[in-house]
Amino acid sequence: MSEVQEKVSNVIKAKEVDPKFKYKMSKMHGAEKVMLCFQCGTCTADCPIARFSEFYRPRRIARMVQFGLKDRLLSDKALWLCSNCFTCVDHCPQNVEIAGIVRVLRNLTVKENKVIPLVYTVLASNLLKGGYVYEIREMHHKKRAGLGLPPLPKPNLEDIEKIFQITGSSNLLKGVETFEKVES
């Protein structure tokens, strides 16, 4: 792609913009204060991921929400680069919970865009199958017994299944596509 073509494709077109998106976001738990972001950039300056990645910029995410660039946000794999350290939440002078906004955008991606990292679906299916996001295998149980550690509690898988059913997460997870890696 030439430099000129690249610039044109980056231009925001009016039809991409959902002017109501910021209001919808403001009603979601964790994203209530997105309108208060005045783009100081403290979040990006203090972000441990932004120091190493050229794609992940929390300040830009907040601005894109304010602009209503929903489709671009939900299809951007960089959304999954936040490591949930919550430094941005603690440091924001406007008390905007940037990591909360990222979480809301990820929840929306699962519901609407339906393309998420493979490892997230593996963790969720482990939880449904065995009660833990990290699979605990027979060899682990044997090793524990050999070291004199007590047997692990038995999760009630029926209860977990019921919770996933009632919130709709079971169905959502059946319908998602996955990717393995995020370019950083």
């Binding site: 738990h29 964790g30 441990p48 991921i49 190493f52 990645s53 999954w80 680069l81 490591s83 949930n84 350290c85 919550f86 430094t87 939440v89 603690d90 919970e97 990591a99 979480r103 809301v104 990820r106 929840n107 699962v110 998420i116 490892v119 997230y120 963790l123 969720a124 939880l127 009660g131 833990y132 996001v133 990290y134 605990i136 295998r137 682990h140 090793k143 524990r144 070291l147 550690l149 007590p150 692990l152 509690p153 038995k154 999760p155 009630n156 209860d159 977990i160 019921k162 919770i163 996933f164 059913q165 009632i166 919130t167 997460s169 959502l172 997870l173 393995e180 890696k181 995020v182 950083s184």
Partner: protein, 291 residues
């Protein structure tokens, strides 16, 4: 004895027996009784919160309900479990509307979140229930002024408004507890910054770069070892060193020990009881300095 419901989570019992063994041996010596509750399940960590917040809160609250039924507060070893459970506990205690929504979900599993219990990390229990002076007085094998690079991991401290553990900018609890064992907690560059552990599995190159910087900074500051609380930080920094060796051809040989292991050693528990062979970076040289 003060009794707590022990919340183990998944990574420690499956992959890090050295952590569980040292905690199960050291904490009762200090008067903390650990009770295993049946039906405890996953803490619903950030990956699950990323899929659906309400599902994750309901799963976290389910565990808290089990502790409420047993009339016990929860203690966690893993900081990830601490973050998920303490965050859910605070959110549901303080937001009536959210609590009602989650209780509606939980009613399908025959549970109700009442908000009557606390979720604590074991460092809080050591600091508040046992006390620094008591920890110091129980040390029979002081750690010979070992220089330790404390790395608490993010989820012990943040989001600070919900976790309320320590000052997130200038935390002292972890450092004081390290020094109580007769060792020195040293400052190193970017001490409080994330280890990148949660990106392992889908952005590994980035995760390794971040972990490498952490190890280099600890090494430059003259650390004898790094001390962790979180099993993911441990994997990122311990196993991570093998991957760093393969990828960058750089060797650091920096032992990584969970605080519980250091505590157990200082309380005079024999190293051979602690399954230290599960470490990827060997701890033998370090042990020679202190045993």
């Amino acid at each position: 004895m003060t009794s707590y419901a022990l919340f183990l989570g998944c990574t420690i019992p499956a992959r890090q027996p050295h952590y569980e063994l040292s905690a199960r041996k050291a904490l009762p010596k200090l008067g903390i009784d650990l009770v295993d509750l049946d039906n405890m399940t996953c803490c619903a960590p950030p990956p699950l919160q990323s899929i659906d917040l309400e599902t994750s809160l309901a799963i976290a609250a389910y565990n808290i309900c089990l502790a409420e039924e047993a009339d016990l507060n929860i203690v966690t070893l893993c900081t990830g479990c601490f973050e998920s459970l303490a965050m859910a506990n605070t959110m549901l205690k303080e937001n009536n509307e959210l609590r009602e929504r989650i209780n509606k979900i939980l009613s399908n599993a025959g549970k109700e979140f009442k908000g009557s219990k606390e979720v604590k990390h074991y460092l809080q229990v050591l600091m508040k229930d046992v006390g620094l002076e008591q920890v110091k007085s129980q040390v029979t094998n002081p750690l010979n002024n070992l220089k330790i690079a404390a790395f608490s991991g993010c989820h012990l401290l943040r989001p600070s408004k919900l976790l309320r553990f320590d000052d997130p900018e200038r935390p002292r609890i972890f450092d004081d507890l390290i020094e109580a064992l007769g060792s020195e907690s040293i400052w190193y560059r970017n001490k409080l910054k994330c280890c990148g552990g949660l990106l392992r599995g889908y952005a590994d190159d980035l995760a390794l770069q971040i972990a490498k910087e952490k190890i280099v900074n600890a090494k430059k500051a003259g650390a004898d070892c790094i001390s962790t609380l979180c099993p993911f930080c441990f994997v990122a920094l311990d196993m991570g060193q093998l991957q760093i060796r393969a990828k960058f051809k750089e060797e650091y040989d920096m032992p990584v020990l969970h605080y519980a292991e250091l505590l157990a050693l200082a309380l005079g528990i024999e190293p051979k009881e602690l399954a230290l062979e599960s470490h990827k970076i060997k701890t033998d040289k370090l042990l020679q300095k202190i045993v």
